[in-house]
């Protein structure tokens, strides 16, 4: 079955992740159906995806004709039935257990049992999400990292009841996208989120204790350990409310104190200082999300 042709991929949910996945899939030469909840939303998602491609052109990563080719392979729709003609369907709606579960039930009823359904999640249990479906064995977890167009790795997650066939097909799909699939067994936060979050939480704790400023903490990690982005700017770019939710979820799931969200993180989220998209988090950003308060030492060194 894993010898099956993969030509059409359904992406349910056109958020930041959904758009990034759709773009990558199209650039790998496959046809994509992006489904949103309404025609208006579908149109809006198309506009945003196009804007992201334009930004890529400005950054010399893409040409006009490549943009055209990329868009020509993506269909934007409000019709969930369009997903039924795909060989693989990926859900990328927001990280909410009930919402994902409701969607999976809908897909389960709609799709041929041989079609794998990929759940894109960083912290939810795919086994729990699959519970009660007619075909829970086709649910495979896939944790893409943003931006999907450039990150080379993807976590491919096997739930308690995931069958081999859909799992192998999804691994093949990851390779078609040019990614290195890391095969994992289900566990809260998988590898990337679980390893990254305590580091970020600790960085916030250090700032709260007044050991060093946020800018200094990031500078230490960037210049000391060759991080491309410091942990606090990383959190700002993800969205502090998301980081908070993930930590909280892992804390509840494991009971492990190291995942207890630092009170300073809570404070910032309550103040609505959620990060780059909001203009303020640990640092300040302009409308294009460029960091405004970068210290002079945090600039590229030439030679």
């Amino acid at each position: 079955m894993s010898e099956r042709e993969l030509q059409h991929i359904g992406v349910i949910g056109g958020g930041m992740m959904g758009r990034s996945i759709a773009t990558k899939v199209s650039q790998a030469g496959l046809q994509v159906v992006v489904r949103e909840i309404s025609d208006e939303r579908a149109e809006e998602v198309k506009g945003r995806l196009e804007a992201a491609l334009d930004h890529q052109i400005e950054r010399w990563a893409l040409t006009q004709s490549e943009k055209k080719a990329t868009l020509s392979r993506i269909e934007f729709t409000a019709d969930l039935n369009r997903a039924a003609s795909c060989e693989v369907v990926i859900e990328t709606i927001h990280e909410d257990f009930e919402a994902k579960r409701a969607l999976l039930a809908e897909l389960d009823a709609l799709l041929d049992p041989s079609i794998p359904v990929i759940v894109n999640t960083s912290t939810l249990s795919i086994t729990e999400l699959a519970q009660g479906l007619a075909h829970p064995e086709r649910i495979v977890g896939m944790h893409f990292l943003y931006p999907v167009t450039t990150t080379r790795v993807v976590e491919v997650v096997r739930g308690q009841v995931t069958a081999n066939e859909p799992f192998e097909l999804v691994r093949k799909f990851a390779r078609i996208l040019g990614k290195v699939p890391i095969e994992e067994f289900e566990s809260p936060g998988f590898v990337t989120t679980r390893v990254m979050l305590p580091l970020v939480n600790e960085a916030i704790q250090v700032v709260m204790e007044g050991v060093a400023t946020a800018a200094e903490v990031d500078l230490c990690m960037k210049l000391g350990y060759d991080f491309r982005v410091g942990p606090l700017e990383w959190a700002d770019r993800i969205g502090l409310h998301k980081v908070h939710n993930w930590l909280d979820h892992l804390f509840q799931e494991t009971g492990d104190q190291k995942f207890r969200p630092c009170p300073l993180l809570r404070k910032l989220v309550r103040a609505g200082h959620n990060g780059a998209r909001w203009g303020q988090g640990f640092f300040k950003y302009d409308e294009e999300r460029n960091r405004l308060d970068r210290p002079p030492d945090d600039t590229p060194q030439l030679g």
Binding site: Q31, R59, W60, T63, T150, P300, L302, G303
Partner: protein
Amino acid sequence: MKILVLNCGSSSVKFQVMETSLELIQANKDSAIAKGSVERIGMSDSRLSLEVPGRKTYQEISEILEHRTAVERILKVLVNPTQGVLGRVEEIEAVGHRMVHGGEKFASSVLVNPEVEEMIEECVVLAPLHNPHNLRGLRAAQALLSGVPHVAVFDTAFHQSIPPRAFLYGLPYELYTRHKIRRYGFHGTSHRFVAIHTARLLKRNLEDTRIVTCHLGNGCSMAAVKQGHSVDTSMGFTPLEGLLMGTRTGDMDPAVLPWVMAMEELTLAQLNAMLNKHSGLYGLSGVSSDMREIQKACADGNRRAKVAFDIFCYRITKYIGAYAAAMGGVDAVTFTGGIGENSAEVREQALAGLGFLGIDLDVEKNRNLPRGEEIIITTPSSRVAVAVVPTNEERVIARDTVRVLGGVMPSFSVPDNEAPR
């Protein structure tokens, strides 16, 4: 005999059927009886087109998902009683394949056998964008035409005669021994073809000539062809070096790269795309990568387009001078490729300051060329001839296929062209 020539790209297959033989080649009477292409492989609306001299172009649109299907469709249309030109597929006596990169392993065109295939496979690392598609096409054709010989013709082979002083870079030597970092050069079939035809046009033996060949198309490269051997060429380890091109930088200071990467926070992929797809005529002018559009913009007074045009021509001038020096003189300069054959403005400006070298362009002749003909465009008294010779890479591939099968394929390797290991 009938030879099928295949040129497989990432999403396209170009093909020609040539009627040829050693005698026809000798008489310069080998000719194409059909040519065409399959475009948009991998899509549901792939397009197959077939051109037969004297007939209307035939087109069909269907889903062609892989190279094998593309080759299948090509064979099918070739034997179609209405559109085709062959009675049976068995009339094809051999297949010639264009291969982009032959590394240091191939200094000639060769008959494909398992050992050769393995060696081509080893060259994939040098041309990850091209060789895999070439190989895919080769395997598809082998599967469908298993009874006939297949010959591989390499873009790089003709330049294997270049001596180490011209092919090595001034990098630590380990980079050459470990990773084979060196100048390879490309467009070899084209440079060779136009050099041979230029000598014929001059009524001289190729062995007595020093010719600078300018292949100016989508990609642009020049070669110094001395006594029939390439002794230097402008493209290098990749097709990025040398002349300015539609979207490629050509020569530049390599120290700019880490600097730009740091200042603009670029990834390697972005940097590569910038150098290959956003630079050259397009990046400089902001207008187009197409020389015709650039010339139009120049005529409209666009100053950035004019600068791009000037840089394009200036680099050609510079390389002509350099290659004349490298060969201890020059007998002819030959233009070929889309721009080389069709832009009188480029030829005129590139040659303008070269009177000192003995080039006396016949300006009128240069501006009123008969299309598709081999012609000399300098005055009779010009010490150095300038020629325009339309290139025909498929014809070279067909010719080499015949030569390999007839056991008369020369090697381009020459003594003393190896660097110490």
